[in-house]
Amino acid sequence: MYEKENFDDFVCTRCNHKVRKRIKNSLQVSLALTICAILLYIPAMIYPIMEVTTLGVKIQSTILEGVISFLNMNSYFIAIVVFTASVIIPMIKLLGLLFIFISLKVNIKMSNNRKILIFKFIEAIGKWSMIDIYVVALLASIVQLDEVFNIKGGIAATSFALMVIVTMIAANRFDTRIIWDE
């Protein structure tokens, strides 16, 4: 193992980026973004994500109602996929990040290796929450028969998309090396 003597900032001669020991304010920024994402998750779940018009009758559905409709159609596999991608994954991401951030300030009995594993898992599953947004966009683009049969996005789509992006930035901005700092 090699012990570095000097941790002052310097500019990399190859890529011209500033090299720091740790990303500046990594924990603060990531924590702020995670809290922001938690707040966005609430309207994303409460408000309708889709509006279906069939023969002039408008029916709005939230993410959870969409999952229930898949269950009613006996599409259990897709119901599980949508439920996992839109409800479970965002929740795991937000709680997981929050847990890692809190564990840096509060003494929680968990090895750093496990924290890194949780973080890697959160990073890997990040983008899969976008499934619901793409499904709404696809359905809205294909089903356009005016009042006969029409699908539109709902207001929850914006908060859900924002929540996914903000969570991804929070995970991306977090410097995992600070987990190991004493």
Binding site: M1, Y2, E3, K4, R14, C15, N16, H17, K21, R22, F70, M73, S75, I78, V81, V82, N112, N113, I116, K120, K127, W128, M130, I131, I133, Y134, V135, A137, L138, L139, A140, S141, I142, V143, Q144, L145, V148, F149, K152, G153, A157, T158, A161, L162, I165, N172, T176, R177, I179, W180, D181
Partner: protein, 199 residues
């Protein structure tokens, strides 16, 4: 006191400085502290360029054909890649439209273009972009391109639609997209971002 740091690598996950293995057969080294994989520098291959060019061509064709189509009362309804973005704009979902446009169209295209330009700059004297810009762009667009998520979304949409309209079917665009995903994935897999610095 000067030290030879050519053999020193930092574990990006825990910040530990480790001596690089000299064994050329083992491409992956593990960090002794956090057990994360530390990738040794691979030499990237020309295959990446061929896959990137193929991916771009397939992407062009993909936009011509519909991905899913269905028939209701003799009316043919189709969904295209661009259509998914434009409908969101029509319905005033500007932010969602921007996110969808960026993640499924712009980022994958720019990702392939960065790879192509990296090879052009490496093999010719043409210098259109700085090495740093190419390197950073490659990692940025790779991270924010969600085209594989979009493919799963198409399958979910198909299953949702077939429950409502039995004439729903995957169209040519979907099959082209599968080929595109393969080329796109391979071009990224065989490209080493650090190679733009020419060392």
């Amino acid at each position: 006191m000067d030290k030879n740091i050519d053999e020193i690598i930092e574990c990006y996950n825990c910040g530990l400085f480790i001596k690089r293995h000299n064994d050329t057969n083992t491409k992956i080294q593990k960090c002794p502290r956090c057990n994360s994989k530390i990738k040794a520098q691979n030499r990237h291959s020309f295959d990446s360029l061929y896959y990137a060019v193929s991916a771009l061509l397939l992407f062009g064709i993909l936009n011509v054909y519909p991905i899913i189509s269905l028939n209701i009362n003799e009316t043919e309804l189709k969904a295209t890649l661009i259509g998914t973005v434009s409908i969101l704009l029509e319905q005033n979902f500007f932010f969602v439209a921007l996110v969808v446009f960026f993640t499924i169209i712009l980022a994958p295209i720019l990702n392939s273009l960065v790879i192509i330009f990296a090879f052009i700059q490496e093999k010719t004297k043409i210098r259109l972009f700085t090495d740093t810009l190419l390197h950073d762009s490659f990692h940025f667009f790779k991270h924010w391109g969600f085209i594989e998520v979009f493919v799963i979304s198409i399958i979910v949409t198909y299953i949702k639609l077939i429950g409502m309209v039995s004439s729903t079917k995957f169209d040519i665009g979907f099959y082209i997209m599968l080929a595109y995903i393969f080329c796109f994935y391979m071009s990224n897999r065989k490209f080493v971002g650090e190679s733009v610095f020419g060392e």
